[in-house]
């Protein structure tokens, strides 16, 4: 079964676009990524997530408001993952916090 796309959530809400280039090797990256998705889902204000990886990785998480974006960034287990990410998992990453203003979708 493949993951469905995150549905639309009615703007305004917030999207955090995380793009990354991985280092070589796994170094428990897979387990951490899975745990972070699970943990994100438990946070106040969490709406959904979309994720894909080929040459680059892109994860977009969706949040009700900026306060929930900030709380997630500061969550202690997530902070530890961020620190380990800079040490061993990522060559480079970017984070963009965005206000979703307009959205539409299509399904067959």
């Amino acid at each position: 079964m493949r993951m469905p796309l995150a549905p639309l959530f009615s703007p305004p809400y917030f999207a955090v676009i995380f793009t990354s280039l991985r280092t070589e090797g796994d170094a428990d990256y897979g387990a951490m990524a899975e745990r972070m998705e699970e943990l994100a889902r438990e946070q106040s204000g969490y709406l959904g997530i979309d994720s894909a990886r080929s040459e680059a990785g892109i994860t977009v998480s969706y949040w009700r408001d900026l306060e929930s974006v900030r709380s997630w960034k500061q969550q202690w287990e997530h902070r530890d993952a961020q620190r380990q990410g800079r040490e061993k998992w990522y060559e480079a990453y970017t984070v963009r916090v965005c206000r979703v203003e307009h959205e539409y979708d299509f399904a067959k």
Copy 2:
């Protein structure tokens, strides 16, 4: 050589988050996707693009202002690709137009 991540562009600017689930088979999808990236780069207000595909595909394109986002959506060759996308390439997709408010990055 792998594509680098799109760099930061100094907010405010706009991100268009396109997530998709593909149909089975290629049906010239690869050629179209490559052509659309090339065409996007030629548009006024274009800043950059990040793209990844595994189960889902995520393409984020970055634009100077909402006018350039709208012009790109209306560009004739892009409109034709959108129509063909609904007919044959995509099971489902979502489009979110967002204002980037805050950004940071990391590189080793």
